[in-house]
Symmetry: C2
Subunit: 227 residues, 2 copies
Amino acid sequence: MNDLRPPAEDRPVAPGIPEATVARLPLYLRALTALGETGLRTVSSEQLATAAGVNSAKLRKDLSYLGSYGTRGVGYDVEYLRYQIAREIGLNEDWAVVIIGIGNLGQALSNYGGFRSRGFRIVSLVDGDPARVGEQHGDLVIESMSDLDRIVKENDISIGVIATPGDAAQGVADRLVSAGVTSILNFAPAVLTVPSGIDVRKVDLSIELQILAYHEQRKRLPGEVRS
Amino acid sequence: MNDLRPPAEDRPVAPGIPEATVARLPLYLRALTALGETGLRTVSSEQLATAAGVNSAKLRKDLSYLGSYGTRGVGYDVEYLRYQIAREIGLNEDWAVVIIGIGNLGQALSNYGGFRSRGFRIVSLVDGDPARVGEQHGDLVIESMSDLDRIVKENDISIGVIATPGDAAQGVADRLVSAGVTSILNFAPAVLTVPSGIDVRKVDLSIELQILAYHEQRKRLPGEVRS
Protein backbone atom coordinates (compact mmCIF):
# COMPACT_ATOMS: atom_id res chain seq x y z
CA MET A 1 0.00 0.00 0.00
CA ASN A 2 1.17 3.48 -0.85
CA ASP A 3 1.03 6.05 1.93
CA LEU A 4 0.00 8.74 -0.55
CA ARG A 5 -3.49 7.28 -0.33
CA PRO A 6 -5.75 8.71 2.34
CA PRO A 7 -9.15 7.08 2.64
CA ALA A 8 -10.91 6.87 -0.73
CA GLU A 9 -14.64 7.47 -0.99
CA ASP A 10 -14.99 4.52 -3.30
CA ARG A 11 -12.55 2.07 -1.75
CA PRO A 12 -14.63 0.03 0.70
CA VAL A 13 -12.90 -2.23 3.21
CA ALA A 14 -14.90 -5.30 2.21
CA PRO A 15 -17.03 -6.35 3.93
CA GLY A 16 -16.84 -3.44 6.36
CA ILE A 17 -17.42 0.27 6.30
CA PRO A 18 -16.35 2.63 3.47
CA GLU A 19 -12.88 4.13 4.02
CA ALA A 20 -14.26 7.67 4.05
CA THR A 21 -16.63 6.73 6.86
CA VAL A 22 -13.80 5.11 8.82
CA ALA A 23 -11.85 8.36 8.51
CA ARG A 24 -14.78 10.34 9.95
CA LEU A 25 -15.44 8.05 12.94
CA PRO A 26 -12.57 9.60 14.99
CA LEU A 27 -14.06 13.06 14.30
CA TYR A 28 -17.46 11.95 15.61
CA LEU A 29 -15.78 10.42 18.64
CA ARG A 30 -13.90 13.65 19.35
CA ALA A 31 -17.10 15.70 19.01
CA LEU A 32 -19.08 13.31 21.24
CA THR A 33 -16.36 13.42 23.90
CA ALA A 34 -16.44 17.23 23.93
CA LEU A 35 -20.27 17.31 23.97
CA GLY A 36 -20.33 14.72 26.76
CA GLU A 37 -17.95 16.87 28.81
CA THR A 38 -20.49 19.70 28.68
CA GLY A 39 -22.98 17.37 30.40
CA LEU A 40 -25.12 16.68 27.32
CA ARG A 41 -26.90 13.29 27.52
CA THR A 42 -28.54 13.17 24.08
CA VAL A 43 -27.63 14.89 20.84
CA SER A 44 -29.51 15.44 17.59
CA SER A 45 -27.89 14.46 14.32
CA GLU A 46 -27.80 18.18 13.41
CA GLN A 47 -25.96 19.11 16.63
CA LEU A 48 -23.47 16.30 16.27
CA ALA A 49 -22.98 17.02 12.57
CA THR A 50 -22.22 20.67 13.33
CA ALA A 51 -19.79 19.76 16.11
CA ALA A 52 -18.01 17.28 13.84
CA GLY A 53 -18.10 19.54 10.78
CA VAL A 54 -19.99 17.32 8.35
CA ASN A 55 -23.50 17.60 6.99
CA SER A 56 -26.19 15.76 8.91
CA ALA A 57 -27.30 13.50 6.04
CA LYS A 58 -23.74 12.20 5.73
CA LEU A 59 -23.54 11.72 9.51
CA ARG A 60 -26.75 9.68 9.58
CA LYS A 61 -25.51 7.56 6.67
CA ASP A 62 -22.17 6.97 8.40
CA LEU A 63 -23.79 5.97 11.67
CA SER A 64 -26.21 3.65 9.89
CA TYR A 65 -23.18 1.46 8.99
CA LEU A 66 -22.79 0.95 12.74
CA GLY A 67 -26.46 0.01 13.05
CA SER A 68 -27.02 3.25 14.95
CA TYR A 69 -30.08 5.21 13.93
CA GLY A 70 -30.91 7.32 17.00
CA THR A 71 -34.45 7.89 18.27
CA ARG A 72 -36.82 10.15 16.34
CA GLY A 73 -37.39 13.41 18.24
CA VAL A 74 -34.69 12.55 20.78
CA GLY A 75 -31.54 11.90 18.81
CA TYR A 76 -28.57 9.81 19.88
CA ASP A 77 -27.54 8.85 23.40
CA VAL A 78 -24.12 10.52 23.74
CA GLU A 79 -22.45 7.89 25.93
CA TYR A 80 -23.84 4.90 24.07
CA LEU A 81 -22.89 6.30 20.67
CA ARG A 82 -19.37 6.98 21.98
CA TYR A 83 -19.18 3.38 23.09
CA GLN A 84 -20.48 2.10 19.74
CA ILE A 85 -17.98 4.13 17.73
CA ALA A 86 -15.03 3.31 20.01
CA ARG A 87 -15.92 -0.37 19.74
CA GLU A 88 -16.20 -0.16 15.95
CA ILE A 89 -12.79 1.52 15.65
CA GLY A 90 -11.32 -1.01 18.06
CA LEU A 91 -10.46 1.48 20.82
CA ASN A 92 -11.92 -0.82 23.45
CA GLU A 93 -8.90 -3.02 22.87
CA ASP A 94 -5.50 -2.17 24.26
CA TRP A 95 -3.08 -1.32 21.43
CA ALA A 96 0.61 -1.69 22.19
CA VAL A 97 2.71 0.81 20.21
CA VAL A 98 6.46 1.18 19.67
CA ILE A 99 7.96 4.56 18.74
CA ILE A 100 11.16 4.51 16.72
CA GLY A 101 13.34 7.62 16.62
CA ILE A 102 13.47 9.38 19.99
CA GLY A 103 14.37 12.92 18.93
CA ASN A 104 12.19 15.87 19.93
CA LEU A 105 9.21 14.54 17.98
CA GLY A 106 9.55 11.00 19.35
CA GLN A 107 9.76 12.36 22.88
CA ALA A 108 6.76 14.61 22.31
CA LEU A 109 4.77 11.64 20.98
CA SER A 110 5.80 9.46 23.93
CA ASN A 111 4.33 12.10 26.28
CA TYR A 112 1.20 12.74 24.19
CA GLY A 113 -1.82 12.23 26.46
CA GLY A 114 -4.18 11.84 23.51
CA PHE A 115 -2.77 8.39 22.72
CA ARG A 116 -3.34 6.73 26.08
CA SER A 117 -6.83 8.16 26.45
CA ARG A 118 -7.79 6.42 23.17
CA GLY A 119 -6.44 3.01 24.10
CA PHE A 120 -2.93 3.36 22.65
CA ARG A 121 -0.19 2.37 25.06
CA ILE A 122 3.40 3.25 24.23
CA VAL A 123 5.28 0.17 25.42
CA SER A 124 8.71 0.78 23.94
CA LEU A 125 10.96 3.58 22.70
CA VAL A 126 13.66 2.55 20.22
CA ASP A 127 16.49 4.60 18.75
CA GLY A 128 19.06 3.75 16.10
CA ASP A 129 21.83 5.60 17.95
CA PRO A 130 23.57 3.14 20.35
CA ALA A 131 24.62 6.10 22.53
CA ARG A 132 20.95 6.81 23.32
CA VAL A 133 20.13 3.27 24.45
CA GLY A 134 19.44 3.18 28.20
CA GLU A 135 18.23 6.80 28.43
CA GLN A 136 15.22 7.07 30.72
CA HIS A 137 12.07 8.81 29.42
CA GLY A 138 9.18 8.68 31.86
CA ASP A 139 8.58 5.01 32.67
CA LEU A 140 10.50 3.78 29.63
CA VAL A 141 14.14 3.29 28.74
CA ILE A 142 15.34 3.70 25.15
CA GLU A 143 16.00 0.28 23.62
CA SER A 144 18.21 -0.82 20.75
CA MET A 145 17.11 -1.43 17.15
CA SER A 146 18.84 -4.81 17.39
CA ASP A 147 16.23 -5.84 19.98
CA LEU A 148 13.26 -4.85 17.81
CA ASP A 149 12.17 -8.41 16.94
CA ARG A 150 12.08 -9.39 20.60
CA ILE A 151 10.33 -6.15 21.64
CA VAL A 152 7.57 -6.60 19.06
CA LYS A 153 6.98 -10.24 19.95
CA GLU A 154 7.11 -9.87 23.72
CA ASN A 155 4.66 -6.98 23.73
CA ASP A 156 2.38 -8.21 20.91
CA ILE A 157 2.93 -4.91 19.08
CA SER A 158 1.02 -4.43 15.83
CA ILE A 159 1.51 -0.65 15.42
CA GLY A 160 4.83 1.12 14.92
CA VAL A 161 5.33 4.89 14.87
CA ILE A 162 8.27 6.19 12.83
CA ALA A 163 9.66 9.53 14.06
CA THR A 164 13.12 9.31 12.50
CA PRO A 165 14.70 11.64 9.94
CA GLY A 166 13.45 11.01 6.40
CA ASP A 167 16.49 9.10 5.17
CA ALA A 168 16.20 6.50 7.93
CA ALA A 169 12.47 5.88 7.58
CA GLN A 170 12.41 3.18 4.87
CA GLY A 171 15.01 1.08 6.65
CA VAL A 172 13.05 1.35 9.89
CA ALA A 173 9.81 0.43 8.08
CA ASP A 174 11.49 -2.69 6.64
CA ARG A 175 12.69 -3.69 10.13
CA LEU A 176 9.22 -3.13 11.61
CA VAL A 177 7.57 -5.26 8.94
CA SER A 178 10.07 -8.09 9.32
CA ALA A 179 9.52 -7.99 13.10
CA GLY A 180 5.79 -8.55 12.51
CA VAL A 181 4.30 -5.04 12.79
CA THR A 182 1.36 -4.66 10.37
CA SER A 183 0.44 -0.96 10.79
CA ILE A 184 2.83 1.98 10.52
CA LEU A 185 2.21 5.62 11.40
CA ASN A 186 4.85 7.64 9.56
CA PHE A 187 5.87 11.11 10.77
CA ALA A 188 9.09 11.11 8.75
CA PRO A 189 9.26 13.16 5.53
CA ALA A 190 9.54 10.10 3.29
CA VAL A 191 7.27 7.98 1.12
CA LEU A 192 7.42 4.38 2.34
CA THR A 193 7.13 1.21 0.28
CA VAL A 194 5.71 -1.75 2.20
CA PRO A 195 4.35 -5.20 1.26
CA SER A 196 0.63 -5.58 0.65
CA GLY A 197 -1.31 -6.24 3.85
CA ILE A 198 0.69 -3.60 5.74
CA ASP A 199 -1.18 -0.36 6.43
CA VAL A 200 0.74 2.92 6.38
CA ARG A 201 -0.67 6.32 7.32
CA LYS A 202 1.44 9.42 6.90
CA VAL A 203 1.01 12.45 9.10
CA ASP A 204 1.72 15.75 7.36
CA LEU A 205 1.84 18.41 10.06
CA SER A 206 1.58 21.18 7.45
CA ILE A 207 -1.88 20.21 6.13
CA GLU A 208 -3.76 22.16 8.80
CA LEU A 209 -1.41 25.14 8.38
CA GLN A 210 -2.20 25.16 4.67
CA ILE A 211 -5.93 25.35 5.42
CA LEU A 212 -5.28 28.30 7.77
CA ALA A 213 -3.20 29.98 5.06
CA TYR A 214 -6.09 29.75 2.62
CA HIS A 215 -8.34 31.60 5.05
CA GLU A 216 -5.66 34.16 5.95
CA GLN A 217 -5.17 34.93 2.30
CA ARG A 218 -8.89 35.55 1.86
CA LYS A 219 -8.98 37.83 4.92
CA ARG A 220 -6.41 39.99 3.16
CA LEU A 221 -8.33 40.32 -0.10
CA PRO A 222 -9.68 43.87 -0.49
CA GLY A 223 -13.46 44.14 -0.31
CA GLU A 224 -13.85 40.52 0.71
CA VAL A 225 -16.84 39.74 2.91
CA ARG A 226 -16.04 37.19 5.62
CA SER A 227 -18.67 34.57 6.24
CA MET B 1 -15.25 29.84 16.02
CA ASN B 2 -15.10 26.50 17.73
CA ASP B 3 -12.08 24.32 16.96
CA LEU B 4 -14.23 21.21 17.09
CA ARG B 5 -15.35 22.09 13.59
CA PRO B 6 -13.30 20.64 10.77
CA PRO B 7 -14.30 21.66 7.26
CA ALA B 8 -18.04 21.22 6.70
CA GLU B 9 -19.33 19.99 3.35
CA ASP B 10 -22.08 22.55 3.43
CA ARG B 11 -20.28 25.53 4.94
CA PRO B 12 -18.96 27.49 1.95
CA VAL B 13 -16.46 30.30 2.49
CA ALA B 14 -18.52 32.85 0.58
CA PRO B 15 -17.70 33.76 -2.14
CA GLY B 16 -14.89 31.24 -2.34
CA ILE B 17 -14.51 27.51 -2.46
CA PRO B 18 -16.45 25.02 -0.29
CA GLU B 19 -14.64 24.19 2.97
CA ALA B 20 -14.47 20.49 2.11
CA THR B 21 -12.71 21.35 -1.15
CA VAL B 22 -10.27 23.64 0.69
CA ALA B 23 -9.43 20.74 3.01
CA ARG B 24 -8.66 18.49 0.02
CA LEU B 25 -6.41 20.96 -1.84
CA PRO B 26 -3.37 20.16 0.37
CA LEU B 27 -3.91 16.45 -0.40
CA TYR B 28 -3.89 17.14 -4.15
CA LEU B 29 -0.79 19.27 -3.73
CA ARG B 30 0.98 16.49 -1.82
CA ALA B 31 0.02 13.91 -4.47
CA LEU B 32 1.11 16.19 -7.34
CA THR B 33 4.45 16.85 -5.64
CA ALA B 34 5.06 13.08 -5.27
CA LEU B 35 3.96 12.39 -8.87
CA GLY B 36 6.14 15.25 -10.14
CA GLU B 37 9.13 13.77 -8.33
CA THR B 38 8.70 10.56 -10.34
CA GLY B 39 9.17 12.62 -13.52
CA LEU B 40 5.51 12.60 -14.58
CA ARG B 41 4.61 15.66 -16.71
CA THR B 42 0.86 15.13 -17.16
CA VAL B 43 -1.62 13.22 -15.07
CA SER B 44 -5.16 11.97 -15.72
CA SER B 45 -7.89 12.82 -13.24
CA GLU B 46 -8.11 9.10 -12.44
CA GLN B 47 -4.39 8.85 -11.65
CA LEU B 48 -4.41 11.96 -9.52
CA ALA B 49 -7.61 10.91 -7.75
CA THR B 50 -6.08 7.54 -6.86
CA ALA B 51 -2.87 9.15 -5.59
CA ALA B 52 -4.88 11.61 -3.47
CA GLY B 53 -7.40 9.03 -2.29
CA VAL B 54 -10.61 10.61 -3.56
CA ASN B 55 -12.91 9.60 -6.37
CA SER B 56 -12.22 11.19 -9.73
CA ALA B 57 -15.61 12.89 -10.11
CA LYS B 58 -15.03 14.72 -6.82
CA LEU B 59 -11.51 15.65 -7.91
CA ARG B 60 -12.76 17.14 -11.20
CA LYS B 61 -15.46 19.08 -9.33
CA ASP B 62 -12.91 20.39 -6.82
CA LEU B 63 -10.49 21.50 -9.52
CA SER B 64 -13.27 23.17 -11.48
CA TYR B 65 -13.55 25.70 -8.61
CA LEU B 66 -9.99 26.70 -9.50
CA GLY B 67 -10.97 27.06 -13.16
CA SER B 68 -8.85 24.02 -13.92
CA TYR B 69 -10.42 21.48 -16.25
CA GLY B 70 -7.45 19.65 -17.78
CA THR B 71 -7.26 18.65 -21.44
CA ARG B 72 -9.41 15.85 -22.79
CA GLY B 73 -7.29 12.76 -23.55
CA VAL B 74 -4.21 14.36 -21.95
CA GLY B 75 -5.19 15.27 -18.41
CA TYR B 76 -3.63 17.93 -16.21
CA ASP B 77 -0.16 19.46 -16.51
CA VAL B 78 1.46 18.41 -13.21
CA GLU B 79 3.61 21.51 -12.68
CA TYR B 80 0.95 24.00 -13.72
CA LEU B 81 -1.73 22.38 -11.55
CA ARG B 82 0.68 22.43 -8.59
CA TYR B 83 1.22 26.12 -9.20
CA GLN B 84 -2.53 26.79 -9.46
CA ILE B 85 -3.33 24.96 -6.22
CA ALA B 86 -0.43 26.51 -4.30
CA ARG B 87 -1.55 29.96 -5.48
CA GLU B 88 -5.15 29.26 -4.49
CA ILE B 89 -4.13 28.13 -0.99
CA GLY B 90 -1.82 31.13 -0.68
CA LEU B 91 1.42 29.18 -0.48
CA ASN B 92 3.09 31.51 -2.96
CA GLU B 93 3.08 34.08 -0.18
CA ASP B 94 5.54 33.98 2.67
CA TRP B 95 3.77 33.21 5.96
CA ALA B 96 5.51 34.27 9.16
CA VAL B 97 4.70 31.93 12.05
CA VAL B 98 5.37 32.10 15.79
CA ILE B 99 5.52 28.92 17.90
CA ILE B 100 4.56 29.26 21.56
CA GLY B 101 5.64 26.57 23.99
CA ILE B 102 9.13 25.25 23.25
CA GLY B 103 9.00 21.81 24.84
CA ASN B 104 9.75 18.68 22.82
CA LEU B 105 6.81 19.27 20.50
CA GLY B 106 7.61 22.97 19.95
CA GLN B 107 11.21 22.10 19.19
CA ALA B 108 10.14 19.32 16.81
CA LEU B 109 7.82 21.75 15.02
CA SER B 110 10.54 24.40 14.78
CA ASN B 111 12.74 21.86 12.95
CA TYR B 112 9.95 20.46 10.75
CA GLY B 113 11.08 20.73 7.13
CA GLY B 114 7.53 20.38 5.82
CA PHE B 115 6.65 23.91 6.99
CA ARG B 116 9.36 25.84 5.17
CA SER B 117 8.88 23.90 1.94
CA ARG B 118 5.23 25.05 1.89
CA GLY B 119 5.95 28.73 2.46
CA PHE B 120 5.73 28.80 6.26
CA ARG B 121 8.65 30.52 7.95
CA ILE B 122 9.09 30.12 11.71
CA VAL B 123 10.27 33.60 12.72
CA SER B 124 9.99 33.37 16.50
CA LEU B 125 9.97 30.85 19.34
CA VAL B 126 8.28 32.01 22.55
CA ASP B 127 8.07 30.28 25.92
CA GLY B 128 6.22 31.22 29.09
CA ASP B 129 9.09 30.08 31.32
CA PRO B 130 11.45 33.05 31.90
CA ALA B 131 14.31 30.60 32.55
CA ARG B 132 14.07 29.39 28.93
CA VAL B 133 14.32 32.85 27.37
CA GLY B 134 17.60 33.29 25.53
CA GLU B 135 18.07 29.57 24.73
CA GLN B 136 19.36 29.08 21.19
CA HIS B 137 17.47 26.71 18.85
CA GLY B 138 18.88 26.65 15.35
CA ASP B 139 18.84 30.26 14.07
CA LEU B 140 16.37 31.42 16.71
CA VAL B 141 16.55 32.39 20.36
CA ILE B 142 13.60 31.74 22.69
CA GLU B 143 11.80 35.01 23.40
CA SER B 144 9.58 36.11 26.26
CA MET B 145 5.76 36.09 26.32
CA SER B 146 5.96 39.72 27.47
CA ASP B 147 7.45 40.61 24.06
CA LEU B 148 4.69 38.89 22.08
CA ASP B 149 2.95 42.09 20.92
CA ARG B 150 6.21 43.50 19.55
CA ILE B 151 7.19 40.16 17.96
CA VAL B 152 3.87 39.81 16.12
CA LYS B 153 3.93 43.40 14.85
CA GLU B 154 7.58 43.53 13.81
CA ASN B 155 7.31 40.28 11.85
CA ASP B 156 3.80 40.78 10.47
CA ILE B 157 2.77 37.42 11.95
CA SER B 158 -0.77 36.24 11.25
CA ILE B 159 -0.40 32.58 12.28
CA GLY B 160 0.42 31.33 15.77
CA VAL B 161 1.15 27.72 16.70
CA ILE B 162 0.33 26.67 20.27
CA ALA B 163 2.45 23.78 21.57
CA THR B 164 1.98 24.37 25.31
CA PRO B 165 0.43 22.03 27.88
CA GLY B 166 -3.37 22.02 27.76
CA ASP B 167 -3.94 24.23 30.79
CA ALA B 168 -1.84 27.07 29.34
CA ALA B 169 -3.40 27.03 25.87
CA GLN B 170 -6.41 29.33 26.36
CA GLY B 171 -4.30 32.04 27.99
CA VAL B 172 -1.80 31.85 25.14
CA ALA B 173 -4.62 32.00 22.57
CA ASP B 174 -5.97 35.15 24.25
CA ARG B 175 -2.51 36.75 24.14
CA LEU B 176 -2.05 35.81 20.47
CA VAL B 177 -5.42 37.30 19.52
CA SER B 178 -4.78 40.53 21.43
CA ALA B 179 -1.39 40.78 19.72
CA GLY B 180 -3.14 40.65 16.32
CA VAL B 181 -2.75 37.03 15.23
CA THR B 182 -5.84 35.87 13.29
CA SER B 183 -5.11 32.15 12.74
CA ILE B 184 -4.16 29.64 15.40
CA LEU B 185 -2.94 26.07 14.96
CA ASN B 186 -3.53 24.31 18.27
CA PHE B 187 -1.52 21.23 19.25
CA ALA B 188 -2.46 21.51 22.93
CA PRO B 189 -5.10 19.13 24.35
CA ALA B 190 -7.61 21.92 24.99
CA VAL B 191 -10.68 23.37 23.30
CA LEU B 192 -10.08 27.06 22.62
CA THR B 193 -12.62 29.86 22.64
CA VAL B 194 -11.74 32.77 20.36
CA PRO B 195 -13.59 35.79 18.96
CA SER B 196 -15.34 35.49 15.61
CA GLY B 197 -13.03 36.21 12.69
CA ILE B 198 -10.23 34.17 14.27
CA ASP B 199 -9.60 30.77 12.67
CA VAL B 200 -8.53 27.88 14.87
CA ARG B 201 -7.52 24.43 13.65
CA LYS B 202 -6.76 21.70 16.12
CA VAL B 203 -4.33 18.92 15.38
CA ASP B 204 -5.20 15.59 17.00
CA LEU B 205 -2.21 13.32 16.56
CA SER B 206 -4.29 10.26 17.48
CA ILE B 207 -6.72 10.48 14.54
CA GLU B 208 -4.47 8.58 12.14
CA LEU B 209 -3.66 6.01 14.83
CA GLN B 210 -7.38 5.41 15.29
CA ILE B 211 -7.77 4.71 11.56
CA LEU B 212 -4.90 2.21 11.77
CA ALA B 213 -6.54 0.58 14.81
CA TYR B 214 -9.75 0.05 12.83
CA HIS B 215 -7.83 -1.86 10.16
CA GLU B 216 -5.76 -3.80 12.70
CA GLN B 217 -8.92 -4.91 14.43
CA ARG B 218 -10.33 -6.18 11.14
CA LYS B 219 -7.12 -8.06 10.34
CA ARG B 220 -7.65 -9.98 13.59
CA LEU B 221 -11.22 -11.02 12.86
CA PRO B 222 -11.39 -14.74 12.12
CA GLY B 223 -12.32 -15.60 8.54
CA GLU B 224 -12.08 -11.98 7.45
CA VAL B 225 -11.07 -11.44 3.82
CA ARG B 226 -8.69 -8.51 3.39
CA SER B 227 -9.38 -6.29 0.40
